[in-house]
Structures are given as structure tokens and as C-alpha cells.
């Protein structure tokens, strides 16, 4: 009988119930969308930031000798040191290894580049473009033993005219910075020569090497003045086998402090220093925190608006049904039965609003994901019970005052028509 009363009472007042359900839907949809985005946003924003380059720089530890005498400072002399390429796999064996999105070693050398009648001194940078690095001793037996990485992974924002060098064994291709290409009048497909003079006092020891322009790089940074080749090519030309100067690491740091990354890398490769790009990291954290705060506030406001909507509808419902409540009491309904009836209606409004709100909120989250982060937001099933729970909770809370009003109905008065 309770079911019949509930069903018929709800269907009799469809338009009123619809208003309450719509109120809940709005709150639930916004809660769903922002919860979904919030759960994804740290990751998404993290990835967005990662598109703008590395946030960790690994360099060899160096001994520095201050040069000068009292009162006169000539700066410092630093012994040139290298990182062994054969140790780089260890970066992928730290505790937070899954948050290492990529790394790219760099070996620099100033070389003389000749094309036609033009000649220019340019920094030649050897790196990984798209390299499968073998993880010799993975952190866990479940980890992959191969990690594909390179400058493409950590700097996807570079503007490339032509193509990347996809083959790590390609010893003929190069990617030329746009300023170098302009000065030497180099175009894609052109072949040019580099001269590496190993010893200025022995002019006979010159290495000549021919390279083809596979792509022209434009970054508006130092890269525009460099020529990039596969690391192996740079090592062979300069005779620095297995050596690199620095390693740029792109780490996704939402749950973990980037400083932890740095210290873990230093543990794995003791002769290096890992430096965080502090400014970028703190900006990331700051923005992430602000986005989450804003989403939380918007959700609270939306849920408050929902609660007001439900409260208004329920109050109107109680006023309209005063006689019905009085009658129920007169035929023996205890207050708890009246409370149960109204709270059941509120719970149904909450469940319907919560389910519909989840669906609409999911669509909304896709819209936010696509328009703000240019990516879809993954559906999260764990949000469904949370949103339905919140919706039912809001509906029940918003019904407390109206239900108190229902309980205070005096049958003798309302049945007399006063």
C-alpha cells in the first residue's frame, strides 16, 4: 500500500516533482562534470604542462675550482664531465617510474657547417628522437623491459617542417634549427657537411661528415640555432662514445613532489645531479590547486541551488497536501509514517535526479574536457554512487524543514478547513 500511495502521489504531481528532479539534475550534473574533470584534471593539466618541455634536468656532478686572487675574481674552472649513456635506463627504475613520461639525453659540440659557399659555427646536439631504451633491471617484474622515449616525447610542441628522425640508427639525417637553415639557405632534402676540429693545434685532425636535412625545427628557443642528430652520430663524430652532457626528464608530478624524483634519480645514478625547474613546478602546483578549489566551490554552489529547489518544491507539496496529511493522521498515521512518506519521495527525487544528472554531467565533462584540455574525460564508474549519494543526501537534507512542517499539521484544524 505504501508503494501505491508513493507512486500515485508522485505521478499525480508530475510537474512539481519534475521541478525538484530538474533542480537535483543540475546540481548532480555539475558535481559529476567537475568531479570527473577534477579527477582527470590533475593528470590532464600535468600532461598539458609536459607538452611545454622537461621539468627535470640531469647533469653530471662537477668539481669547480674558483680562480683568482684576493680582490680579483676570474670565475671558475670546471672539469668537463659526462653522464654514461649506458646508465640512462636507471631513470626508469625509480619508485615513481610510471610518472616518468620521457627523457632525452643531449651531447653538445660546436662544429663548423658548410653548405655551398656558406659556412657557420653551429652547436651540434646528439639526442634520442624515438628510441627504445632497454631497462636492464626493472624495478618490478611487472614493468616493461623496453621504454620508448626521446625528444619527441618530451617536446611535442616543437614546430617541425619536414619530419622527425624516427629511426634511431639513421646516421645520415639531421634536424636543423630554423635560424641555421635560414643563414645557410638549407632546405629539406639538402645535403650539407660538418667539420669537427678535434684539436685546434693539430689542424690535420678534422672530421668531415655529411648530413641530410630531414626537418627544420622552430621553437623560438635555443633549438632554433642548433642541429640535431641521433646521439650515436654525435658520439661518433666527437669520439665521445657512451657519453652525454645532460638528460632532460619529463616527469608527471601530481601526487608526488618533483624533488622526490630528483633525489631518487641521484640515488640510482650517484654521479649526477638532478635539478628541478622550480618555477615551472610551483606554477603547475599553484594552478592545479586553484582549479580544484574553484571546482569545489562551483560544485558547492550548484548543490546549494539544488537543495533550495528541492526545499521549495517539498514545502509547496506539504502546503498543498495539508488536508491529505491531516486525513492520514486522523485515520491513524503516526508522525514517523508521514516522515517516511515524504523522505521516500525526496529519496526518489534524489535517485532519479542523481542518475540523470550523472548522464548529463558526463556529457558536460566531455565538453569541458574537449574545449579546455582538447581531450576526452574518461568515464569513472566510482562517481555514480558518489553522485547518487550526494543527490539523495541533498534531497533529504532539503526536505527536513518541509517534513517538520508536515509533522506539525494538526488534523483537527486542517480537516475543519482552517
Amino acid at each position: 500500500m505504501f508503494g501505491r500511495i508513493l507512486r500515485k502521489s508522485l505521478s499525480k504531481r508530475k510537474s512539481r516533482i519534475a521541478i525538484a528532479v530538474v533542480s537535483v539534475i543540475m546540481g548532480a550534473a555539475i558535481a559529476t562534470a567537475l568531479l570527473s574533470v577534477s579527477m582527470d584534471v590533475s593528470e590532464k593539466v600535468g600532461y598539458e604542462f609536459r607538452k611545454y618541455g622537461a621539468n627535470l634536468m640531469v647533469v653530471p656532478k662537477s668539481d669547480t675550482i674558483e680562480v683568482g686572487f684576493p680582490g680579483v675574481d676570474f670565475g671558475s674552472v670546471t672539469e668537463q664531465r659526462y653522464i654514461n649513456e649506458s646508465d640512462l635506463w636507471k631513470i626508469k627504475t625509480i619508485f615513481w617510474r610510471n610518472n616518468v613520461l620521457g627523457f632525452a639525453p643531449l651531447l653538445y659540440q660546436v662544429v663548423s657547417v658548410g653548405y655551398g659557399e656558406n659556412e657557420q659555427n653551429v652547436v651540434l646536439s646528439g639526442t634520442y628522437f624515438n628510441k627504445d631504451v632497454e631497462i636492464i633491471e626493472p624495478y618490478s617484474s611487472e614493468d616493461d623491459t623496453v621504454f620508448n622515449t626521446g625528444i619527441q616525447a618530451i617536446s611535442p610542441w616543437w614546430n617541425i617542417d619536414g619530419s622527425w628522425i624516427d629511426n634511431p640508427d639513421d646516421d645520415k639525417s639531421s634536424m636543423v634549427g630554423v635560424n641555421v637553415a635560414e643563414k645557410l639557405d638549407l632546405k629539406i632534402g639538402d645535403t650539407f657537411t660538418i667539420n669537427y676540429i678535434q684539436n685546434y693545434e693539430d689542424i690535420q685532425n678534422v672530421t668531415l661528415y655529411e648530413l641530410i636535412v630531414a626537418g627544420i625545427i622552430e621553437t623560438d628557443g635555443n633549438e632554433d640555432n642548433q642541429i640535431f642528430v641521433n646521439l650515436q652520430v654525435a658520439q661518433n663524430i666527437t669520439g665521445r662514445i657512451d657519453k652525454v652532457h645532460t638528460v632532460q626528464v619529463s616527469a608527471l608530478c601530481n601526487a608526488c613532489p618533483v624533488d622526490t624524483f630528483a633525489s631518487e634519480i641521484m640515488e640510482k645514478i650517484p654521479y649526477v645531479e638532478a635539478r628541478t625547474v622550480k618555477q615551472l613546478v610551483s606554477a603547475e602546483m599553484n594552478i592545479l590547486g586553484k582549479i580544484e578549489d574553484m571546482m569545489f566551490l562551483v560544485t558547492i554552489v550548484a548543490l546549494l541551488a539544488s537543495a533550495l529547489g528541492v526545499m521549495t518544491t517539498m514545502t509547496t507539496s506539504v502546503i498543498e497536501r495539508k488536508k491529505e496529511i491531516g486525513l492520514m493522521k486522523s485515520v491513524g498515521a503516526e508522525n514517523k509514517r508521514i516522515v517516511f512518506l515524504f523522505l521516500s519521495e525526496a529519496a526518489i527525487i534524489g535517485v532519479i535526479g542523481g542518475i540523470a544528472g550523472y548522464v548529463i554531467g558526463f556529457v558536460l565533462s566531455q565538453f569541458i574536457g574537449m574545449s579546455v584540455f582538447s581531450t576526452s574525460i574518461a568515464p569513472r564508474l566510482e562517481i555514480i554512487p558518489i553522485v547518487i549519494g550526494i543527490s539523495v543526501g541533498i534531497s533529504l537534507l532539503a526536505s527536513i524543514l518541509p517534513v517538520r512542517r508536515a509533522v506539525s499539521v494538526e488534523p483537527a484544524i486542517v480537516l475543519r478547513g482552517e
Binding site: M1, F2, R4, I5, K8, S9, S11, K12, K323, E324, G326, L327, M328, K329, S330, V331, G332, A333, E334, N335, R337, E410, P411, A412, L415, R416, G417
Partner: protein
């Protein structure tokens, strides 16, 4: 005294300083009696009926119904006592508009104890509404609605039936049908307390009480009833 099913001792109902609906009123009603309450508007008839029906409480005095002092019960106990002992028939019928005839009767069962649709249908058959079981109040005539109200009052087999001008909103024909039903219930042994403005109906029971300004102005033993 022991056969009094309703015993009212010096009850007073004061709404505010100026408004006293009942003034030191005492009355005893025996089990199975029909008592008619008459009087001008504002004389306290409905207040008295509401207090007997545990819908309202007096500000002074005591009431004993079926041996229980209802003036000593709290709100929840009054509700329970009412549903166990009293059936209410209203002048305005007060049916739930979205429930059909059977469901309106079943609702009283639901708040009383267990719902039995067959018993509800039987109660409606008894008041001659077996052809209107699934009609909602809006599709029933005034007389039919009042008969649903009587079926609802009967379904839990209360000892006492309280009727507040049950024929007041009905035409002669429907009024006669309803009155006949109440007479039948009285013959079956129900204690009836009925408010009416109609002198003929007022003379039908064993007692007639006339109220004026919250006091019993006249009390008359009649030969009517069974």
C-alpha cells in the same frame, strides 16, 4: 457507570482568553448508544467530537474512552488509540484525491495494521459501492464519496463511530442512503456520536445533547435508535 464507553468529566477547551469552545462539560455515553449532538454554529459541537476522537485535546478535565484516560496519553499514543477504537466520518468526506475507492479504504488499513484488499472491497460492498471500486473521488458523487468515507471508517472495526454532519453536504436521496447505513451500524452494536443540524436525525438516537456556548443546554433521553 461500568457500561459507559465514553465518560467526559468537566472538560474545558480554551483557545485564548476570549475564546472558550467547551466550558466544564460532562457527559457519559453508554456502549452501543447513538448520541446526537446538536446546537448552533460555534457552540462547540465539532470541538467536542474532535476531543472524543483524540484529534484534539482539552485544556482541562478528563475523558475516559473504553476505560482508557485519553487525556493522559501523548500524541503518538492518541494516534494509536484513535486508529484502534474510533472511526471518523466527515461532512467533507476527506478522501485522498489520487487514490481510488478501494485504495482510500486500504489506506486506513495500512495505517492501522495489515492491508487486506478483500476486506476493503467487502467494506465497499457493504456500503453499496461494489461497482465503483476503482473510481477516484473526482468520479464519484457526493453520496458515493461519503459512503467510501463510511467504508474507510468501518474497515478497521472500531468500537465507536464519530460522524460530523455526515449528511450535511448531501441531497435528500443520498442523505437517506447514508443515514440508513449509519442506522444499520448502530443496530450492529456500534456506538455512534453524530453531529447534526437536522432535528429528525437528532431524534433518531437514544440521547440528544444540545450545546450552547460550550455547555450542555439540554440533554434528552429518546426512544429512538434500534
Amino acid at each position: 457507570m461500568s457500561s459507559d464507553i465514553i465518560r467526559i468529566k468537566n472538560i474545558t477547551k480554551q483557545y485564548d482568553e476570549k475564546t472558550r469552545a467547551l466550558d466544564n462539560l460532562s457527559l457519559s455515553i453508554k456502549k452501543g448508544e447513538w448520541t446526537s449532538i446538536m446546537g448552533p454554529s460555534g457552540s462547540g459541537k465539532t470541538t467536542l467530537l474532535n476531543i472524543i476522537g483524540c484529534l484534539d485535546s482539552p485544556t482541562g478535565g478528563n475523558i475516559f474512552i473504553n476505560g482508557t484516560e485519553t487525556t493522559a496519553l501523548n500524541q503518538t499514543e492518541l494516534t494509536r488509540f484513535r486508529r484502534e477504537n474510533i472511526g471518523l466520518i466527515f461532512q467533507q468526506y476527506h478522501l485522498v484525491p489520487y487514490l481510488n475507492a478501494v485504495e482510500n479504504v486500504m489506506m486506513a488499513q495500512y495505517f492501522h495494521s495489515l492491508v487486506d484488499e478483500n476486506d476493503a472491497i467487502e467494506a465497499l460492498k457493504r456500503v453499496g459501492l461494489d461497482h465503483r471500486l476503482d473510481h477516484v473521488p473526482a468520479h464519484l458523487s457526493g453520496g458515493e464519496q461519503q459512503r467510501v468515507c463510511i467504508a474507510r471508517a468501518l474497515v478497521n472495526e472500531p468500537r465507536i463511530l464519530l460522524a460530523d454532519e455526515p449528511t450535511g453536504n448531501l441531497d435528500q436521496k443520498n442523505g437517506d442512503i447514508v443515514l440508513k447505513l449509519i442506522l444499520e451500524l448502530h443496530r450492529e452494536g456500534h456506538t455512534i456520536v453524530l453531529i447534526t443540524h437536522n432535528p429528525q436525525i437528532g431524534d433518531m438516537g437514544q440521547n440528544k445533547v444540545v450545546l450552547v456556548d460550550g455547555k450542555i443546554n439540554a440533554k434528552k433521553l429518546l426512544l429512538g435508535g434500534k
